[in-house]
Amino acid sequence: SQKIEQNSEALNIQEGKTATLTCNYTNYSPAYLQWYRQDPGRGPVFLLLIRENEKEKRKERLKVTFDTTLKQSLFHITASQPADSATYLCALDVNTGFQKLVFGTGTRLLVSP
């Protein structure tokens, strides 16, 4: 069956460290993968998109990798700050040409001062 897995347990790290979040998927062949941030009571906010032919994408302190062989994406936040504390969602497109996204359940990140 099709599945997207993100670590359901919260990730606790110290300020200044690098946070690494994992997204694994099975039985999908996405053209791209997106990462969103969600704060309590708010909707998801787009962070990064990486395409199937890209290995890595960076934006400021964020870095995303995409390994279509392993069917895995890693999301890194370097020099983490308490303000980075949120739930991070990965989402795959299902190749319809529109944003019919399939989301993971998200991983909560807690950055302590």
Binding site: F46, L49, F98, L101, V102
Partner: protein, 113 residues
């Protein structure tokens, strides 16, 4: 620039009643999506409009749900009659044509008692 606006932010109704959720997308965004998150589960696609036309409503749970986007501007999602399992957060998102980046509203928290 105004973001995606959803109304109401919260709605508490009794089983069997009708509720209508509204979404105002970002001006100029032809693509409008409805997604839903039920307790403990991932965000799931409901349907997609391009302007006033439904492109994909494969995620709609059943015929108690009716979405409209008259005139290709704002959209409504009506649930009639509501059931307990309809409780959750309903998100609306919009995007520009040929752009994968989705902008989400803050959602409507629906509680059916």
């Amino acid at each position: 620039e105004a973001g995606v606006t959803q109304f109401p932010s919260h709605s508490v109704i009794e089983k069997g009643q009708t509720v209508t959720l509204r979404c105002d997308p970002i001006s100029g965004h032809d693509n409008l999506y409805w997604y839903r998150r039920v307790m403990g589960k991932e965000i799931k696609f409901l349907l997609h409009f391009v302007k006033e036309s439904k492109q994909d409503e494969s995620g709609m749970p059943n015929n108690r749900f009716l979405a409209e986007r008259t005139g290709g501007t704002y959209s409504t999602l009506k649930v009639q009659p509501a059931e307990l399992e309809d409780s959750g957060v309903y998100f609306c998102a919009s995007s520009q044509q040929d752009n994968e980046k989705l902008f989400f509203g803050s959602g409507t928290q629906l509680s059916v008692l």
